[in-house]
């Protein structure tokens, strides 16, 4: 008579032996050159910039993603909101590039004194010129915020009249 209990599948003894051999080999490799380990890894100066740049990239990708997700929406205010996503994405790209240029920029290119602020930027390349104009990123982020605000206002007004799914 067959038992109703589930049968335990026994592993093949040869493959078990092979796995044990691999484990021991790996352990030997690790123990070959041993150094003292620090529990907390120190973080140097460039990490802050990298984290910030990665965050900019995340912001940029998020804006592109949300633009794609909402591109078929036809409700009140959506056009302006989508436009704000585009502006924010472009602003992110510009800021990402400017942060990169800034890190590599020769400090001697900043000349003159205005308190401790430099008065001039001596540009010797296109990147320098881009850096100068890229610093005026409010020309991108103010239209982005303006479009977002206007879009939200339109949407609020429409939502006050009707709670249709169109604005949803």
């Amino acid at each position: 008579m067959r038992s109703n209990r589930p049968s335990i599948k026994r592993s093949n003894p040869r493959s078990a032996r092979r796995r044990l051999l691999w484990f021991i080999s790996g352990l030997c490799c690790l123990l070959y050159d041993v150094h003292p380990a620090l529990a907390i890894q120190p973080h140097g100066a460039p990490e802050g910039l990298y984290a910030h740049q990665i965050a900019h990239l995340g912001f940029l990708i998020a804006m592109a993603y949300i633009w794609l997700r909402t591109r078929h929406r036809t409700g009140e205010g959506w056009r302006l909101i989508r436009l704000s996503f585009v502006f924010f994405a472009v602003w992110n790209m510009n800021t990402f590039i400017n942060h990169g240029i800034s890190a590599a920029l020769d400090p001697t290119k900043f000349q003159g004194d205005m308190g401790t602020l430099p008065r001039y930027l001596v540009t010797r390349s296109t990147l320098d010129i881009y850096f100068f104009f890229g610093q005026m990123d409010h020309f991108l982020c103010i239209p982005a915020a303006l479009c977002l605000g206007l879009g939200l206002r339109k949407m609020r007004r429409a939502a006050q009249h009707t709670f249709s799914d169109d604005v949803y």
């Binding site: 802050g48 984290a51 910030h52 965050a55 900019h56 995340g58 912001f59 990708i61 998020a62 804006m63 993603y65 949300i66 997700r69 909101i81 924010f88 900043f110 000349q111 205005m114 308190g115 401790t116 602020l117 430099p118 008065r119 001039y120 930027l121 001596v122 540009t123 010797r124 010129i129 100068f132 610093q135 005026m136 990123d137 409010h138 020309f139 982020c141 103010i142 915020a145 303006l146 977002l148 605000g149 939200l152 206002r153 949407m155 609020r156 939502a159 709670f163 604005v167 949803y168």
Partner: protein, 601 residues
Amino acid sequence: MSIELPLFYVYLVDSTGSLLMLALAVWIFREAYCLRRHSFMHLYLFLLSCSLGTFAISRAIGHILSYFLRYTGRSELWEAIRPISGGVNTLLFVIIASLSFYYGIFRNLQESRDREKERHVKEVQKARDFLQMVIDSLNTQLVVIDRAYRIVMANKKFLTDMNLSKEEALTYSCYQLLHNACDTVDDCQKDESESHLCPWKKIDQGEAPVPMTHVHKNPATQEERYTEISASPVYGDEGAVEYMIETLTDVTDKVKLEKLQQEKLTGIIELASAVAHELNTPMFTVLGNAQLLRRQMKTDAPGKMELNTIIRNVKKMSQLTKEMVNITEYTTKDYVDIEKLFDIAAASGPKDEKPDHWQIERAQRETRWLNLEKLAAMGQLTASVAHELNNAINIVLGFSQLLLRDANENSQTHNDLLKIEKNAKQCQHIVSGLLDYTRSMAREKQLQDVNQHLKDVLKLVAHRMALGKIEVVTEFCPDLKPVWMDPDEIKQVYVNLLNNAADAIQQDGQIRIKTAFDPLHQHILISFSDSGPGIPNEVMDKLFTPFFTTKENGMGTGLGLNVSRDIIRKHGGSLEAKNQPEGGAVFVIRLPVDPGEPQPV
């Protein structure tokens, strides 16, 4: 080549932009705050705006502070603040990105859920539509009523009959719509004594309600209709009855027909009782005279055999009359008056066992049918007895007339025979009333061979024809298709036409009966032509007018041809009269050959 670009513009744009961003951040936050509760999308926009606003504030403050501190020569302070400002901005970027991605994931889930929901709604709608289609296809009215007596659903038949739209019907309560004299449910329930038992009551008692008949008033026509109601409970999730499905069938015609039939049958029974009573005197006069005559006659005298036949038939008449009396007594004695029975039970029985309206309704329904069935059977029996009685009377009358012809006019025998004839005619007159009444009962058509039927009728009138020395010539078309007809009614037509022809001929003549088939119209043609004087042209138009007769006073009622034409018309045919070129009148009956199922006349 190097160009010196003034950083002042950068500082100016940056400072002004930062201030503007501060203002915009507050505005965006305000706009988004108003939207936050409308939907998930709005919540996302609110959180995004909050993050962007915080970032804008943080950045603006950072930039302004940077310029201010550096301009005032406190760069080291700015250097201490800078990583904090940068860190906050980084964190806000991460939050904005996370929010956007979470929103996308949530929307995906929601869209998939919406699709599922939409599919589910479609399936439910499809099932609903199918159910509605089935309900609307019903040929009886169907209505669903809730516990508050409100109509929550109605089928097409109900709405059409009530002349209401679906929306209108749902605004009514059942008592307002169907018993529109009732403004409240209490008014409606007061009516219970008048057969307005509410089906909800029975359902509340936990029993399936018996079918019941209500008198409903149609709101569209204000016409009162008898409606048979069958109600079924609809149970909710918790097992309690939440709705009631009522199917309503208009039985007004049935009830009226039932009542009419009952009245007719009761009428027959009552008439039969009166006829039996009235027949006694003339019948025993005939018997007495016949027996007296027989005693006076010698054994081998001519006419003795006829007298014996008369006596035998009068005795038979007496027996049939007794039978009729028995039938009427039996019918009236065992007629169950259920309401009386319940009245007695209610008055005498214990309070708990008193019958309620439901028991009365059920018992009434059952006994009504029983009584009706019994009445129908007794009516049928009475009709057949009356028919047999009539046959016996005809024989008595026929033989008495035969004997009268040979009797000496001035003899006592002649006088006695005249008495017999007179009384036999009186009997015939009495019974004919009952026969006419029984003939008005509902009949059924039968598939009948016209030629054979005519032959049977001719046997009935053979004696009359023999008396007038009228020769009856038949030219029957062979292989005629059988016709759906009421043989008794058509027989009445044939007899009427033959009697009219015999009356027109009076003595010594010929009646020619022909049958033929008209393949073009699929009609059977039956013509009765006589050798009489024909129909005068001035009366031709009035021939079928009721009570019009050319016969002497007391000889005809003027209804024969009118009734005959009506009977033929009822059979879908026609009756025409015209004069023959060679003299005499001809009546032509056209009957359609009906291959369909028999239908009640």
